[in-house]
Amino acid sequence: MEKVVGKNIERFDAKSKVTGTALYADDIPLNDFLYGAQVGSPVARGILKAIKKDPDFDWTGFTFVDYKDIPGKNEVESVVWDMPFLVESEIRYHGQAILLLAHKNKETLEEGIKRISFDIEELPYVTTIDESLSKKIIMAREDNVFRTKLLHRGDLEKGFKNADFIFENTYYTPHQEQAYIEPFAMTAHWENNKVYIKGTMQCPYYIHGGLKVLFDKKDDEVIIAQSAVGGAFGGKEDYPTVISGHAALLSLKSGKTVKIIYDRDLDMNITTKRHPSKSVVKIGVTKSGKITALDMDFILDGGAYETMSSVILARGMLHAFGPYELANVRINGVIVATNTPPNGAFRGFGAPQSFFAIESQIDLIAQKLNMSPSELRKLNFVKKNGTFPTGQLLGDDVLITEVFEQMLNNADYENLQKEIAEFNKNNKTKKRGFGFSTFFHGAGFTGNGEVMVASKAGVRLQKDGKVFVLVANTEMGQGAHTVLPQIVAEALELPMDYVRTEKVDTSIVPNSGPTVASRTTMIVGEILRRVGKKIKKTLNYNNESDYLEKVKAYLNNKDSENFYETYNKPPKIVWDDENYRGDAYGTYAWAAYGVLTEVDTLSYDVKLINAWSVFDIGKVINPLLASGQVEGGMIQSFGYALTENIVFDKKGKYWNADFTNYIIPSIMDVPKMHIDFYNREYEFGPYGAKGLGELPMDGGAPAVNNAIRNAIGVDLFNLPLSPEQIMDKMER
């Protein structure tokens, strides 16, 4: 039997997408429906006194919903349920939904939105971490602090005493918008007291849980289905619960199907973004470059409600120490509140922020010590069978040194340095530099997350021999619905055409957990591999035709049978969430970036010329899809490095919530990318695969920062690494 794992199997959805026939949420034909919309707060903070409808406007045909129409709880289910679906009295951010409207005519609806106004007692607000920390204005909890966590190892004081030098710097990162090209769109309807949702989403069972709470419903009374999804990157992880709730409330009240579509402006203004961060990094180091202590305050801006920020803080902290063996560490994590829309998931989930700080600081130290940044790194890298600061004993699959060497090799580091020196000698106004970053990503949920979720996945075996993969994990462009069937086909020892993924609908598929945390291939894929093996063993066939005979005989007079398995924890994973000790992740995927930049010393523009990356993601199941993930993630991380930034207007509203002023990378900004994988199979992943999705996002910003440092010798501490910031440093 020819192998299917490791092959560039064509995406199952490729044809429908290139021909324009794939049905995204806004493309699905509907009969007799209303358009729905929210009317949001015009201020960032206040107390709602009254909702006013223009008496001169013709309100015929409108449906109105406010919080009093909620049958269940006005709480969005999340890690912490502190956010309401609709404002009752307290307003915490600009654009927060107060009233919902629906009408069958889109233009009339838009006119109606303009004819609604609010009486609000305005209150002073905060939009930044430092404003929130100053506590001059308290806007949430007793002290603007949602949560604190501490990670600790060794003796910090002793560590700093043993240091010859101590370097302390503060790093800031801004909001980052996911900027999926398909904005939010969701449709709801009711039938026999059951609510049906269809639209763009990552995690149908999150919406399922959320709507049960909102409407006080049972499991089988809420049915969530996914349409084609035009990109998500974490942005469609938690927010879909809110928009689904809104559509379902309007549908319940009007008795009609309701579709809510956000335009780009609204989508960028009110949906979740990457948490802004502030990292105060203090590192003690000996003359020879050995790190003796790391002390870090890692502060995230959670936005107006805590929601799921605590798990993002956890992941940020558990990557904040970098790929280094450190005996004395303290990482102090804090989430503060601000009057901005709640921040949420975005590819990398806290790690891009903390890696920017640690990997920039390591490079800065190398420069101050007059050491090569590669030597400083190699000296401190965690080695095989080393220990991470949580006390996690790593195995012999620590590959940071290997991927780093391979990256330097691919970039031909020695020669490249000479070429750069030569170039810089011959160019007055253009300076080149090479910078790198070394990083990792824990695949799957943090700590005991996978055990708690206890994912169940399966397949439906049909009489005709066709096999349908039953998972709640969504296809959002990353290729999951092609990669998972590949794994199943391999386990069944059958050609690909026998296997495909069933549509994601909670009335059909089990809860195999959310499509997040780089977990789908590694965790769900492994469950499916076991399902495939079980079928193979049960039917005990030798080849394809034997298989077809045996399926018929086995199913006898049934048309199909479902086979399921649930998550099996690899042995030896133990995590203590109270004290932050133990195995934070079952395994880590390791990576290194190298970036060649060119800085224009007149305009301070930074151009990316070449980018090298080496990834250890275990076995690569589908190389074409995997390298596509890497390239896309690299470019997102370069956007984060150089241009992406949210700015506020005087009302506490995002000023640049559009593609004109929020600058994502265009095709002109893309460097030549050299992608490579370090193929080593992971014992507990399907055919040796680990997670991939988020890893490419983690390392871009520090690599670019270090390349700029290498080119023009300035130390930058804030993202984005803008021409203004460089100018400011250069002219000082």
Partner: protein, 162 residues
């Protein structure tokens, strides 16, 4: 609001519709003609997801009002596929080179590529990038889209040679 009558062709089919003068071509295509392949990513002329050809020129359907459509010939993604609905050589090249991920930007990129090749565009990477610079993709990092266009040019030239 006053309505106007406009007649135009879409994918070689004649249409006459009554609509308000400022109604966007994007809405006419999607709502009236039920041609859902043309996407709205931004609605403000920035992302290229709504790209179509109007009288052979690459245009953005989200900022083209009904008043500009009289007598025009419009080509959308639905008019690119082969007669039987199978992918054209450009679309096949996109598939083979992995240029498609979430696919939301794809119709726009296919239209821009179609225009580029129709105008005799070369395999020069900078020229290809310039031709596609009006389109955003957040998934692919563009590398495989450039590969797809190059491959399409090769296949186009092979076809011509035959």
């Amino acid at each position: 609001m006053n309505k106007i009558k406009v007649s135009f062709k879409v994918n070689n089919k004649d249409y006459e519709i009554e609509t308000t003068p400022l109604r966007r071509l994007l809405d006419i295509l999607r709502e009236d003609l039920k041609l859902m392949g043309t996407k709205e990513g931004c609605g403000e002329g920035e992302c290229g997801a709504c790209s179509v050809l109007i009288d052979g020129e690459l245009s953005l359907a989200c900022i083209t009002p009904a008043t500009q459509l009289e007598g025009k010939e419009i080509l959308t993604i639905e008019g690119i596929s082969d007669k039987d609905g199978e992918p054209s050589y450009i679309q096949k090249a996109f598939i083979d080179k992995g240029a498609v991920q979430c696919g939301f930007c794809t119709p726009g990129f296919v239209m821009a590529t179609h225009k580029y090749i129709k105008d005799g565009g070369s395999n020069d990477e900078t020229k290809i990038k310039e031709a596609l610079s009006g389109n955003f993709c957040r998934c692919t990092g563009y590398a495989k889209i450039v590969d797809g266009v190059k491959e399409a040019i090769v296949r186009h030239n092979d076809k011509e040679a035959k």
